[in-house]
Amino acid sequence: MDTFLQQLINGISQGSAYALIALGYTMVYGVLRLINFAHGDIYMFGAFMGYYLANNQWMQSQLGSSLASAVVVMLGSMALSAGVGILIERFAYRPGRSPSRFTLAFWLGIVGAGIGQLIRPTAASLMAGAAAGILIGVILEQAGMRPVQQTSRLALLIIAIGVSLFLENGGQQAFGVDPKFFPQIIPTTLLNIGQLSIDSQKVMVLVVSIALMVLLNLFVHYTKTGKAMRAVSFNLDTAKLMGINTDRIIALTFAIGSALAGAGGILVSLMYPKIDPLMGIMPGLKAFVAAVLGGIGNITGAMLGGLIVGMAEVMAVGYGQSTYRDAIAFIILILILLLKPAGIMGKGVVEKV
C-alpha cells in the first residue's frame, strides 16, 4: 500500500508536468487546428534557458541560492520560451495564413549566421553572415518571392515538423550535444508523512503546475482576451469578422503555450536533472497523446489527460516492465481513439454531408 501511495505521488507529479506541455498543444490545436510538433522542443528550450540563467555568474551573485533566484529562473525561462513561440508562429506558421513580410530574411539570416560561424568562429563573422542572409532575403522578397497563401493543413504539419527538426538540431549546435546537469535551484528535503517520504521537489512541481493551470483557466474564462481566444478557437473566420485581431490572439496563444512548456521543462529538470537537446521529443509526443486523450482543444481535458498518461506510465514502470515505458502512452492513445475518438472531454463532431 505504501509503495502504491508513493507511486501515486510520483505519477501525479510526472502527470502534472505532462499536463503543462499538453496545455500548449491543445491551445494551439484549438486556434489553428495544427499539431505543433515543435512544442516538445520548446519544452527542451525552456529547460536549457533555465540552466543558463541559473548558472549565470551575475544572477548568482545578485540573488544567491534562494527561493527568489528560483522564481527569477522560472519566470525568465518562461518569458524566453514565450519569445521563441512567438517567433516560430510569426515566421513559420503565419506566412502561410496571412500576408507577412521578412520570412525569407529571417530564415536566411539564420543560415547566414551559421555559415559565418563556420567560416570564422567569431561573433563578428556570425553577425556579418546573418546580415548578408537578411539582405539577400529582403532583396528576394522585393523581387517578388512571397509565401503562398492558404497553405493546406498538410503543408502546415510539415512546416511544424521542419520547425521541430530545426529546434532540435539548432539546439545541438547551440547548446552542444552532450547532456548537461540542471542545477539544484531549490534545496531538496525529504518530507516524511507517516510511512511515506516525499521529495520536496515533487511537491513543488505539483504546486507550481496546479497554480499555473488555475491561472490559465482564470485567464481563458474571465478576461476579455481569454474570451477572444475562445472565440478564435470556436471559429477563426467568424472571430475575424467580429473584429478580433486573430493574428495577435494566435501569437498570444503560442506565447502562453510556450511559456507553459518552458515551465514544464524546468519543473521536469528539477526532478530529473539530465538535460540534452533531444529531450523534448518523447515528452512532446506523450503530451500530445495526453491532449488527444483529454479531448484536443479542451483545456481541462489536457490536464486530465496529462495526469492519466503520467500515472499510467509511472505505474507501468513501478509494477511492470520499465522497458515498455515509452509504449504505454501510445497504447492508451490507440485505445482511446478506437473507443472514444473525441477524447474524454471532447465534443463529438457530427459529420455533415
Binding site: 530564415w107 551559421g114 502546415l156 521541430s164 538540431n169 549546435q173 509504449a327
Partner: protein
C-alpha cells in the same frame, strides 16, 4: 512482346551496372546509390497512402522495421538450414532464393501489420489517423527493443549481406511499375476518388473502408520489402534506425517531390537523400539547414517541386491539345 523486351533490357542493364558500378564510383557513393534506391521504394509506397488515397500516415518506419526484422530473422535463423538442404545449388543461386524468401516473408509480415493497423484505425480521419500511425510505429520499435532473439537494444548483427545494387533497383523498378499500374487501374481511381472527396466516393459506390485498408496494406508491403533490402545490405539492424524521424524523412521526400506524383516521390527521395549527404560537409549544421530548407519549400511551394505533374499526364494533355 514489348513488355518482355522492357523487362529483359532492365535486367540486363541492372546486371551490367551491378558488375561495374562499385568499381566505377567507389564504396561510399555505391552506398549512397543503394540508400537512394531503398528510399525511392519507401517514398513511392508511402505516396500511395498519403498522395493518392489522401490519408495521412506518419508511421511508415514501423512497417519498414517489421519488414527488416522479419526478413533478417528468417534468413538468419532459417539460412543455415536452407543452405544445407540445397547444398547442390551454387552459392549465388542460394543467396538469391534466400533473399527472395526473406523479401516474401517481409512483405507478408508488413502486410499483416498494415492490415492490423488499418482495419481499426482507418475509420479515423486526418490528424487522428496520423497520430495513431505514429503511435503504432513507436510501439513496434519498443516491441523490437524488448525481443531478445532479434537483438533487442543491442541491435541485430550478423545478418548475411544478400542485397546489392541489382536487387535493390530491381525492387525499385517493380515498385514503380506496380504502383503506377495500380494507380491507373479502377482501384487507383477509387483511391483518388477517396482523396478528392470521400463522401462523394462513397455515394458513387466505392467501399471506402475496404479501399483505404487495401491501399494501406499494399503500401506497408512495399515498405516491408524496402526494410528487407536495407537489413540485408547493412548487415546490422538497430531499433534506432526506425525512430519516427525515419517516417518524417519519407514524408518529407514525397511532400518535397509533390504528393500524388510517382515521379515526384522518386525525385524527392533522390533529392533528400543526396541533400542530406551533401550537407554532411557542414557538420552538425547540415540538419539545421535541411530543416530550414523544408520550411521554406513548404511556405513558398506547398504543392512540392512537381505537384501532381506526371510524365503520362503531360502526354495525355498534349494529345488532347492536338
Amino acid at each position: 512482346m514489348r513488355k518482355w523486351i522492357f523487362w529483359l533490357l532492365a535486367l540486363a542493364a541492372l546486371a551490367v551496372l551491378q558488375a561495374s558500378l562499385k568499381g566505377l564510383i567507389g564504396a561510399y557513393y555505391y552506398q549512397i546509390v543503394i540508400l537512394v534506391g531503398i528510399n525511392i521504394i519507401l517514398a513511392v509506397s508511402l505516396n500511395l497512402i498519403n498522395g493518392f488515397t489522401g490519408q495521412f500516415s506518419i508511421g511508415h518506419a514501423g512497417f519498414y522495421a517489421v519488414g527488416a526484422y522479419t526478413s533478417a530473422s528468417v534468413v538468419y535463423y532459417g539460412g543455415p538450414w536452407f543452405r544445407a538442404a540445397t547444398a547442390f545449388l551454387p552459392q549465388l543461386a542460394q543467396d538469391a532464393v534466400l533473399l527472395l524468401l526473406g523479401i516474401l516473408a517481409a512483405a507478408v509480415a508488413a502486410g499483416i501489420a498494415g492490415l492490423a493497423v488499418g482495419i481499426p484505425s482507418l475509420r479515423l480521419r486526418g490528424d487522428y489517423l496520423a497520430i495513431v500511425t505514429l503511435g503504432f510505429g513507436e510501439i513496434i520499435r519498443v516491441l523490437i527493443l524488448n525481443i531478445d532473439t532479434i537483438g533487442g537494444s543491442r541491435g541485430f548483427s550478423g545478418i548475411p549481406q544478400l542485397s546489392n545494387f541489382f536487387w535493390v533497383y530491381l525492387a525499385v523498378v517493380v515498385t514503380i511499375v506496380s504502383i503506377h499500374n495500380l494507380v491507373n487501374s479502377s482501384y487507383g481511381r477509387a483511391f483518388i476518388s477517396i482523396r478528392d472527396d470521400e463522401i462523394a466516393a462513397e455515394a458513387m459506390g466505392v467501399d471506402t473502408t475496404r479501399i483505404k485498408v487495401l491501399s494501406f496494406v499494399i503500401s506497408s508491403m512495399f515498405a516491408g520489402i524496402a526494410g528487407s533490402l536495407f537489413g540485408h545490405f547493412t548487415m546490422y539492424l538497430h531499433p534506432n534506425s526506425f525512430l519516427f524521424i525515419t517516417s518524417f524523412y519519407v514524408i518529407i521526400m514525397i511532400v518535397v517531390g509533390g504528393l500524388g506524383s510517382i515521379e515526384g516521390a522518386v525525385l524527392g527521395a533522390i533529392l533528400i537523400t543526396v541533400v542530406l549527404e551533401v550537407f554532411r560537409e557542414f557538420g552538425a549544421f547540415r540538419l539545421v539547414n535541411f530543416s530550414i530548407l523544408l520550411v521554406l519549400i513548404m511556405l513558398y511551394r506547398p504543392q512540392g517541386l512537381l505537384g501532381t505533374w506526371t510524365l503520362a499526364k503531360r502526354k495525355q494533355s498534349a494529345a488532347v491539345a492536338k
